[in-house]
Symmetry: C2
Subunit: 432 residues, 2 copies
């Protein structure tokens, strides 16, 4: 008999059917006995008469079974149906206790313990919901950029030189010579603007940063986009705004049940996201909170929180662009603000008071690259392969990168990036 999903049962009331899945819970009360079966469509109820329960002897939660039964309408049961007269076949028996229970409404377990047995813990319905959202973020990102004429690219993660910064890259032996794991597809996505004008990539990036915070891991998924023929960073910000809205719309259309299960409050997104120029943001903080960070080259997390509150109160927006970060704190390929060259045509997008996206306009003329490297005392020689394309015609361009796990963290209010990463990698964790 073809297996049905639990979600299909309500179309088969009165029929004899077969379902399959995991034993989620067992309630054996003698006269009234229930098994709840979990499959990819949800959790479903099977009713056992007392003399039918011997089939369940020795069967621990997470056992994998198929159950043949008769579909009966039952308003108290999940989905309004349950199976009666069950015949259970065990596909994979479980005979030992789980590392921690995964059949309670909440998964109450210490994060480290959870992660040590992530392959089991991820089966919890709320964890499933979280990572379906993660898949939805990727799908929404791609769908929006496809619509805007972007082409998906796949660029190498094994690279010859420690690109953006010399530090914080993982090194390895590549057939006898050094290679590095890409920190970002930055150089390649710029190169590909010369080919397709508009490109995106969804791929892992690697950061050998030896710090242990709730907001940093050493391998994550970067949602990268880059586009040519822009006027300046404002065109990049306009595309990013469409992408953010496209992702949220995709989630509302495709992941509504998961958003509800996780109690997600969807972010407030006005037509255009408010923006503040970097020095104006510092001035605002000084005026509103008395903290004088004017002239500092960067914003502290508390500053970002204050700015987030301001955007929410003033514009009803959970998103805020801060533009014009000082050139001194941005990488050499950053395009300066022509009218105010100590500041850059770059931006961060704050989401609920925390940085989510970094982006900006890049230099596009070869001579400007040579000058920018010289001004920083850097040799162009290690960048020769990258710089070649700027000798042969690159349009004004820019782009951005969104951290997938951070997006889901900030959307769902998770407290640790490790909660929104399937199998996180950090200073202390390389398995499972």
């Amino acid at each position: 008999m073809e297996r049905l999903l639990g979600a299909e049962l309500k179309q088969h009331v009165g029929e004899r059917v077969t379902v399959a899945g995991w034993v989620h819970t067992l309630r054996l009360l003698g006269k009234v006995n229930f098994l709840r079966l979990r499959d990819r469509s949800g959790i479903w109820q099977v009713f056992f008469e007392k003399d039918e329960t011997s089939q369940l002897d020795g069967l621990a939660p997470e056992s994998v079974v198929t159950i043949e039964g008769t579909v009966v309408a039952e308003s108290q049961a999940p989905g309004g149906v349950e199976l009666h007269q069950p015949v259970v076949t065990v596909l994979s028996p479980v005979t030992e206790g789980l590392p921690y229970p995964i059949n309670k409404p909440e998964l109450a377990v210490h994060l480290d313990t959870f992660l040590n047995h992530a392959g089991i813990g991820l089966r919890h319905p709320k964890k499933q919901a979280l990572f379906r959202l993660s898949a939805g973020v990727m799908a929404g990102f791609r769908a929006t950029l496809d619509r805007l004429g972007f082409v998906e690219v796949t660029t190498p993660k094994l690279v010859e030189s420690a690109t953006e910064s010399g530090a914080n890259v993982f090194a390895l032996n590549y057939f006898g010579r050094p290679a590095y794991l890409a920190q970002s597809p930055q150089f390649y996505k710029q190169t590909m603007v010369g080919v397709f004008e508009r490109v995106y990539e969804v791929a892992p990036v690697f950061r050998a940063e030896p710090h242990a915070t709730v907001r940093h891991i050493n391998e994550y998924v970067s949602l990268d986009a880059e586009l040519g023929f822009i006027r300046d960073h404002q065109d990049v910000m306009a595309v990013l705004t469409e992408v953010i809205k496209g992702i949220l719309a995709h989630l509302q259309t495709h992941c509504a049940a998961d958003l509800a299960a996780l109690g997600v409050t969807m972010p407030a997104t006005p037509d255009t996201f408010p923006q503040l120029y970097f020095p104006a943001a510092q001035q605002l903080i000084y005026e509103q909170h008395g903290e004088d960070c004017r002239g500092e080259p960067d914003l502290a997390p508390q500053h970002e929180r204050w700015l987030g509150e301001w955007a929410r109160a003033t514009y009803g927006s959970d998103f805020l662009f801060v533009t014009g970060y000082p050139m001194a704190k941005r990488p050499f390929y950053t395009h300066p603000n022509p009218a105010d060259p100590a500041y850059s045509n770059s931006f961060d997008l704050l989401f609920r008071g925390t940085e989510l996206v970094t982006g900006g306009q890049r230099l596009h003329r070869y001579a400007d690259y040579l000058a920018a490297l010289a001004a920083r005392g850097m040799s162009p020689e290690p960048f020769a392969g990258y710089l070649e394309v700027f000798r042969y015609g690159m349009p004004p361009h820019g782009g951005f990168a969104i951290g997938l796990e951070r997006f889901v963290m900030q959307l769902t209010g998770a407290e640790n990036l490790r909660e929104t990463t399937l199998f996180p990698r950090d200073l202390n964790r390389l398995a499972p």
Copy 2:
């Protein structure tokens, strides 16, 4: 004035408009002078009167320009329109010669030379078409599996143990201890079957194989899928058949012009792909070609070609499943054929006589894993993290992996995998 794409010009005949792109070709004949401008929508013609050509002085191909002009219907021009009375603004001038010309109908350059300057060479229209197909293959893969209820996952590429085989992995120093680059998401995608039943991943994999052939590179994109609640590998093959057809249908719908530009003959795909059991395939080769490979543990490339020809001649199919590869040649997690346990419930899918996909049913019971490892003299200890999920209920499952670059190679008839990889990595090449 807002920039128009060349493809939009035909809706603006008689209007003054602005386009932007790269100077693809210049034909300055004195009285009749043409510039062909390349943008992401194609190649478009701009007509210059003799007294207008001074704007082009010193402008080499690949210069990036915007051109204001009047749209005139012209049946001889690409797209049936050209621009007249042009006013050229240079965004990025090119003043030196290209490493090789990229404005001829064919890119006639040695592969190594091409790859040394791939950032430029990829701008050639046929290269663009090739890598739009590559993007289309990924999109078709995802769209098909989304429709079939699969969930996209992102699993770590930094792993603790050299998983499937001890050899051929890249090792690196991970904060003072060894780590490896994942050869495949195999263990993680199996683990995630326990969570979502059906999962896929599109991500790079890394193989430290020190051989230099036209069919091997050291980093490639793997299109991985894995599904639970199967009867055996035949269910996996049925999903793979849908995926192959879904990808091809996606390309025909979304990349028709690129397929035409590259002269691609679409593969012949009968309703179900023919299949041969491994010993029967060897018997067929013996009978038809007199070569006795019966009893050998694997097929040689010439054997696969013969089988491909046979499938084409007998079933009108460019695809052929070979099932039941000997257990001895398959990894320890492979499920044996219960009726013939020296052979496995695995398969290769040959595409035009060359292996494109490998897949099969996996073991799903913990005791079977322990027995399989013991039979191979392998310790279960390094696999403890992976094996844990099998102690807690895994359904019968299986999956497959398609090499993205190989798919495009075999579809387009490219002679070297490096032609269908944006920035290939091999024994000798780590840049650009």
